[in-house]
Symmetry: C2
Subunit: 151 residues, 2 copies
Amino acid sequence: MTLSFEDFPPGPFGSFGPRRVSREEIISFAAEYDPQPMHLDDEAAKHGMLGGLSGSGWHLCALMMRMLCDGFLLRTASLGSPGVNELRWLSPLRPDDELMLDVEVIQSRVSNSRPDTGIVTFGCRLRNAGGQILLEAVTPIIFKRRDSDAA
Amino acid sequence: MTLSFEDFPPGPFGSFGPRRVSREEIISFAAEYDPQPMHLDDEAAKHGMLGGLSGSGWHLCALMMRMLCDGFLLRTASLGSPGVNELRWLSPLRPDDELMLDVEVIQSRVSNSRPDTGIVTFGCRLRNAGGQILLEAVTPIIFKRRDSDAA
């Protein structure tokens, strides 16, 4: 079944994962997109503010997106997203972390400009096995409304 | 020379690029982190809202980060970032786009809690060769203050 706007009423939606992140993945993402020493090199990272190798914050965002896709987004009538309202990196991503993603629907409303669609604002939270929150994001996603299939 | 907090007064900072993005890169990022049909498959993308293959919004963010690193961030006393205040995906990333990144300093202030550091809030804008804005982001980055070297 394809999920539509109507399937996302405000409230807790679900938890997804775990997704284990290896040292190799952390270094490989950083080498391509965020080659700062604390994301690439154990020795340099030891002397940095985070006291050891940590993943790029953008790597965390990309992992969150993959977990959203596998969790439910690929089974929806999603029309994309205009952006992210707020994004906070709260604790560093470490090698071998096992990530869980908690998703809630903060707001859900029919679009004024395109009434065959609705905008669902999600609150997303990535945590590690120790319960530390690594990332919080508030992001709207646009979905088709179920009634719009006939249109 | 390593750039410190004092090197980022409010105002225009610089433009960086171009960075060309291939179809292969777009598909490879999407396969790993955002496997929605419009980012993976020309045929599926043709029937989608964006009318043709487009890159993941998170790929754009990762590319922005790399351009920030190469542009100036790797030559700074950066201590990382607490997050992103606002992120807007305005136009789709297309195969063979040549990206330019415009950076301005929106605000620059000494940290209250850690007076040896300062917080610089950047406005970042990614545009293609046709002048379309693809992404806008407002993001704070923490830097050491120059005077703090002696501490």
